[in-house]
């Protein structure tokens, strides 16, 4: 029997029982759709973490203090510049945040106390004005370099360079504006403002401790060696491994990739389970269908259908149900992914996950059709016609 005709007959069978066929498909639809939507959320999260890490600049190592006794002093930082091999910049970082006000506009913004080296370390470019200077840092000047998004949202077209602003009610002067680095990210680094870390310390009074050090190495190899050496230095200083958290950007990227692999495996397991359940649904429907169509099978056999022809008809029917379910699932899943992106976290559709989910759905559908189809094929013609 020609394949096309099998398709046609199977399609008729499906149309004859629309509601039941749809319910059988539902399992596959939900399975495929959830795989595609979930993977797209995972991919979106991974991409945004990856982009954020890349924005830190290449070959950068971050050292965070963990514990009140762990103090990063300017002397230590000077010392690290000479002690750690292959290092280009060492910079203290103080994280803070607050309210930035210009005329009657104000926004809440994260801020970082840094040195003039931040431009090189973070690989920023200036869009206007000047960078922080060594003198700014030494003299604790109240000057700011602001991110592109801050400039756009607070100043709304006015050139911010030279403007007076109030940061947490303290008067500052904007001396530079950074070029946008990640324009598509709402809360990215373009929303941050930068001031001399010495100024930040004074603003915060006793709380103004240096809690982070940024180090930029000459290359990738130097960066991983420097990370090792830094861990040794802080271990010697504090006699415990968790005093300082040393993180190189490249390590982080590797970790993200590792995380991604784990997540993909987990999603694959979820997909497998949900599609398996969908497959059981199809098998159930096909078994009912075989019982219900016993007479049809008998008639077909009486006019000379071979067992294999009966088998293939039911197999194709199962494959069509799962295939159609798969296609609807792709549409629903992609739609859900776009909807999530519109109102929630970023998502990224992955062609790979679509193909895998669809292929698996087809496979499960055909596999779950095997038993009912074999049952149909094995019916004795006289029993079937009774």
């Amino acid at each position: 029997m020609t394949f096309l005709l099998s398709l046609k007959l199977a399609w008729r069978g499906i149309l004859a029982n629309k509601l039941r066929s749809f319910l059988a498909m539902l399992g596959v639809i939900i399975g495929v759709a959830s795989v595609i939507a979930l993977v797209s959320v995972g991919q979106g999260a991974r991409l945004s973490i990856q982009r954020h890490l890349e924005s830190l600049g290449s070959n950068v190592i971050e050292v965070h203090s963990q514990g009140w006794d762990v103090r990063f002093t300017p002397e230590l930082i000077e010392d690290l510049k000479t002690r750690v091999a292959g290092v280009k910049y060492v910079m203290p970082v103080i994280g803070l945040g607050g309210n930035l006000k210009w005329r009657n506009n104000f926004i809440d913004t994260p801020a970082q106390g840094v040195t003039q080296d931040f431009l090189e370390i973070r690989e920023f470019k200036l869009a206007g004005g000047r960078n922080l200077s060594e003198v700014d840092v030494r003299e604790r000047r109240r000057v700011l370099v602001i991110g592109a998004a801050v400039a756009e949202q607070l100043f709304r077209g006015v050139n911010p360079v030279g403007e007076e602003v109030y940061f947490n009610n303290q008067r500052f002067t904007v001396v530079g504006v950074l070029a946008a680095k990640m324009p598509d990210q709402e809360y990215g680094i373009d929303r941050t403002i930068y001031l001399p870390y010495t100024t930040a310390q004074r603003l915060m009074g006793g709380a103004g401790r240096i809690d982070t050090i940024n180090i930029k190495a000459a290359g990738a190899k130097e960066a991983s060696q420097a990370a090792l050496q830094l861990r040794r230095i802080f271990f010697k200083m504090y006699r415990r491994p968790d005093a300082a958290y040393v993180m190189s950007r490249d390590d982080m990227l590797k970790q993200v990739a590792e995380m991604n692999r784990t997540m993909t495996l987990m999603l694959a397991a979820i997909a497998g389970i949900s599609l398996l359940v969908g497959g059981i649904g199809i098998m159930n429907i096909m078994l009912v269908s075989v019982t219900e169509r016993t007479r049809e099978i008998g008639i077909r056999k009486a006019v000379g259908a071979q067992n294999i022809q009966i088998l293939s008809q039911f197999l194709i029917e199962a494959a069509i149900i799962s295939g159609a379910g798969g296609i609807i699932g792709i549409l629903v899943g992609s739609g859900a992914s776009l909807l999530i992106r519109r109102f929630g976290p970023p998502t990224a559709l992955s062609l790979f996950s679509i193909l895998v989910a669809f292929g698996f759905a087809l496979l499960v559908g055909a596999a779950s059709g095997v038993w009912p189809a074999a049952k149909a094929a094995a019916l004795e013609p006289t029993d079937a016609l009774r």
């Binding site: 020609t2 008729r12 049809e296 009486a302 000379g304 004795e380 013609p381 006289t382 016609l385």
Partner: protein
């Protein structure tokens, strides 16, 4: 000798198992039917006539004895070969027509040709030809539900004919039909038989049986009589139809 028979059973038995109980349906039947014969098999219900038909139609295998079709022993054939015999040599007509309700008349007639792998165009041509011959030219695209019983049975005959069988086996073909529609079906059988097709039909109605040239009676799984119908006693469906009042030939019940 045996090669002269189209269908030949020798000491054929059939035992059904209902749980632990064995129910003999045929207790040793020996019968030979020559090519071109028209035979009626009669008997009360439970006499084994349908079982015999199923065995003759290769829908079932005998429990014992030998069945030869066209000189070939059927008992030794595989399921696959039996399906092929059903497809090519035998046209089966059932009491309840056994058409597929989701297919049109034309598609139902195409079915055996589909399983034989006849190309679509040829298939369609032969199916149309068979339906036209049975007076269903205007009903090609109708579903069985839209047809009267007589029309459905004629679709079933067209389905058998399209496959160009050597034998037509009919199990109570007129059982679900009124007398006029039944007579029309018998007219078709007599016409096909006159063209050389062997016809075997099961019936419990003596008047239906008298349309054939030979009557075999079964009781309790055994043949109790095997008689020729005298030519002057044989009924002609055409003549009977001419005498019947009402609609002209091919008339519809619906």
């Amino acid at each position: 000798m045996s090669a002269a028979f189209m269908l030949e059973v020798e000491e054929v038995t059939k035992i059904y198992r209902l749980g632990r109980i064995k129910v003999p349906a045929l207790r040793g039947v020996t019968l030979g039917i020559r090519p071109g014969e028209m035979v009626a098999v009669m008997g009360p219900s439970g006499s084994g006539k349908s079982t015999l038909m199923n065995i003759l139609g290769c829908l079932d295998r005998p429990s014992g004895g030998v069945y030869r079709l066209d000189g070939e022993e059927v008992g030794k054939k595989s399921d696959r070969e039996l399906a092929s015999i059903r497809n090519r040599k035998i046209g089966f007509i059932f009491q309840n027509f056994n058409l597929l309700p989701q297919l049109t008349a034309l598609e139902n007639v195409e079915l055996p040709l589909i399983y034989r792998g006849v190309p679509a165009r040829e298939r369609r041509r032969r199916a149309e030809e068979a339906l036209v011959r049975l007076g269903l030219k205007e009903r090609l695209r109708h579903s069985p539900r839209e047809l009267s019983g007589g029309q459905q049975q004629r679709v079933a005959i067209a389905r058998a004919l399209a496959a160009q069988p050597e034998v037509i086996l009919a199990d109570e073909p007129t059982g679900n039909l009124d007398s006029r529609a039944g007579e029309e079906i018998l007219a078709v059988f007599q016409e096909l038989n006159a063209e050389g097709i062997t016809v075997v039909m099961v019936t419990h109605d003596p008047n239906v049986a008298r349309h054939s040239e030979r009557i075999v009676r079964l009781a309790d799984g055994r043949i109790v009589s095997d008689e020729r119908v005298l030519p002057e006693e044989r009924l002609s469906a055409q003549e009977l139809l001419a005498k019947l009042p009402g609609a002209e030939e091919g008339g519809e019940e619906k």
